[in-house]
């Protein structure tokens, strides 16, 4: 019903390649959660290290976990792992 019964709607000669959407506007529009969580994690880990507060360190661990879970896969896995490891004191 969606296609013409006689002809095939497919046009192989009109194939267009997939172009990933431009990354200019996307990072601003996308969910900022991973970036916020990254920043929070860094702040809390510094606090926990300097002020010797155990709970700060644990909150930092949680923040880094949340940031990792929400991250966009466009970022390198290596970058994520390195940031994850550095945030955990």
């Amino acid at each position: 019903m969606s296609t013409n019964s006689m002809s095939d709607p497919r046009r192989p000669n009109k194939v267009l390649r997939y172009k990933p959407p431009p990354s200019e506007s996307n990072p601003a529009l996308d969910d900022p959660t991973p970036d916020y969580m990254n920043l929070l994690g860094m702040i809390f880990s510094m606090c926990g290290l300097m002020l010797k507060l155990k709970w700060c360190a644990w909150v930092a661990v949680y923040c880094s976990f949340i940031s990792f879970a929400n991250s966009r896969s466009s970022e390198d896995t290596k970058q994520m792992m390195s940031s994850f490891i550095t945030h955990n004191p």
Binding site: S2, P9, V15, L16, R17, Y18, I66
Partner: protein, 547 residues
């Protein structure tokens, strides 16, 4: 003095023995003495006896006969006395060290009290508790030392220590032990020194939380993946019958169908389809809920949200007429009108109810012109919209689509954003978050609607009036935009001109050859003159026209 006293202080017996030796023959051998009063002591008598001649010879033999046993007796006596003396000394070395004078001081001092007092100290130490051993023991030792020093000086008796001496000792251990019993309390070892589970309760709690988060991450990721795969399996046939290229991530050299979804995220999956009549391509985005994030899961318990399927069809320029149209839930349309550039510019009215066309009350319409609405709402479309109203979030057709409004800090952008003819569909997956893979089958008819809409958009053409209106609208929008940005554009043009002049001047300055310099300068002057003339001409023309 004599043999009766065995504990006599030690005196050099060597000196005593001659005395005793002299005395003893006088005491114990009266016969020998009385028998020969003239005779000197036997020790000295023998040599003397030898001088007196024949008489002396007989006397000598007689003397010898008598002196020999006397001598033996003396020796015996001496030996017995020395035995008695040696009983006192255990070490032979001590015998030599002492003088007569020293004996007076040490009359009563023997070794017995000395061992006794240390024994006493030791026993008191044993009685006390270990916690106070060091302090008490030290004091006891000091006391014992004092006692040792005092005893030889103070006590003049030869007897062993009385009970008087040890009165203090007996009391003190009792008092100290009683004192020790009261203050000693068993204190609990502080928590941070303990080695039990209780001291780590925070760590255990946190690690448990982390484990829960990780478990949720894995479970959520898997569920999203399963949902995406179920959707694709359901729609694969339809897509493959309509599009040549199903699934492309843009990395392959050749345009071959990958036949699978692009995983952009743990909760976002993309699919690009292309190769169909009248459209450039179709991008399908499965926007699932963030099931992998525990925080999100907890937030969704408060406020349920649905998974969404977003479809964006890019139309060819010749295959779509110029209009802007949207249908959807009232809430969604209000939001879109605020966000989207084209909807805010072309569809200024509030969303209207679609009841006139037979749509349910939940859906509303935003349209540029009434004619567009009329054209779009044909029977089939109404049928689709009515039957699947609960799953439709929004349907947006536009030839001026440029995405959401871009908020720039430096005022309006200088150029109008690029527009593309697009059809946008947003569908809600049924289940409100609690979706199962089989729910994806419910979305299949919606995909049919999409395909139908593509064809419809191609077929639908505005009549002349509609076209004129549409063109007028677009011109109006453009003019407004230009007016807003006029000042900024002027400034931009001015700055560009200034930069050109500066560049030219620099070029002239940099020219080393003086001739060339002169020539360039002349050329620049001429150009400026020409410009001035042109301006003057324009002004004259305007004046003439005005007149």
């Amino acid at each position: 003095m004599g043999q009766g006293h065995r504990e006599l202080p030690e005196r050099p017996p060597a000196e005593r023995r001659p005395d005793q030796a002299r005395a003893s023959p006088e005491q114990f051998r009266p016969r020998a003495v009385t028998s020969s009063s003239q005779q000197p002591p036997p020790a000295s008598s023998c040599p003397g006896a030898g001088r007196r001649g024949a008489q002396a010879r007989t006397g000598r033999t007689l003397c010898a006969m008598k002196t020999l046993p006397a001598f033996c007796v003396v020796l015996l006596v001496l030996w017995s006395v020395s035995e008695a003396k040696f009983d006192d000394f255990e070490d032979e070395e001590d015998i030599v060290e002492y003088d007569d004078n020293d004996f007076a001081e040490f009359e009563d001092v023997t070794e017995d009290p000395a061992p006794e007092s240390p024994q006493r100290v030791v026993t008191t130490e044993d009685d006390e508790d270990e916690a106070t051993v060091e302090l008490e023991g030290q004091s006891e030792n000091q006391e014992g030392d004092f006692e040792d020093a005092d005893a030889p000086e103070g006590d003049t008796e030869n007897e062993p220590y009385d009970d008087e001496e040890f009165e203090g000792y007996e009391d003190k251990p009792d008092t100290t032990s009683s004192k020790n019993k009261d203050p000693i309390t068993i204190v609990d070892v502080p928590a941070h020194l303990q080695n039990s589970w209780e001291s780590y309760y925070l760590e255990i709690l946190m690690v448990t939380g982390l484990l829960a988060y990780i478990m949720n991450y894995i479970i959520g990721k898997n569920k999203n993946s399963r949902l995406a795969q179920a959707w694709f399996n359901t729609h694969r046939e339809l897509l493959e019958s309509n599009f040549t290229l199903v699934g492309d991530d843009g990395t392959n050299k050749e345009a071959t169908s990958t036949g699978k979804l692009n995983q952009e995220n743990e909760h976002i999956y993309n699919l690009w389809c292309s190769g169909r009549v009248c459209c450039e391509g179709m991008l399908i985005q499965l926007r699932f809920l963030k099931r992998q994030d525990l925080l999100n899961v907890l937030a969704r318990m408060m406020r349920p949200v649905s998974d969404q399927v977003q479809i964006k069809v890019t139309m060819n320029d010749e295959d779509m007429d110029t209009y802007v149209f949207a249908v959807g839930t009232r809430k969604a349309l209000v939001r879109l009108q605020k966000e989207m550039q084209d909807l805010s510019e072309f569809c200024s009215d509030k969303p209207k109810s679609g009841a006139k066309y037979g749509l349910p009350d939940s859906l509303a319409i935003l349209s540029e012109m009434g004619e567009v609405t009329e054209g779009m709402m044909d029977a089939k479309m109404v049928h689709f919209l009515t039957h699947y109203a609960d799953k439709i979030e929004s349907v947006h057709f536009s030839d001026q689509f440029s995405g959401p409004k871009i908020m720039q800090e430096e005022g309006q952008p200088l150029k109008l954003p690029e527009t593309k003819r697009t059809l946008l569909f947003t569908f809600n997956v049924p289940g409100l978050g609690n979706t199962y893979p089989k729910d994806m089958e419910a979305l299949l008819p919606l995909m049919n609607m999409v395909i139908y809409s593509i064809d419809k958009a191609r077929k639908f053409r505005l009549n002349r009036e509609g076209k004129q209106k549409a063109d007028k609208n677009r011109a109006r929008v453009e003019e407004n935009f230009l007016k807003l940005t006029h000042v900024q554009r002027q400034e931009a043009a001015q700055s560009r001109r200034e930069e050109k002049k500066r560049a030219e001047k620099e070029r002239i300055m940099n020219e080393e050859d003086p001739e060339k310099q002169r020539r360039l300068e002349e050329a620049a002057l001429r150009r400026e003159q020409k410009k001035l003339e042109k301006k003057q001409m324009k002004m004259k023309q305007i004046k003439v026209k005005a007149m």
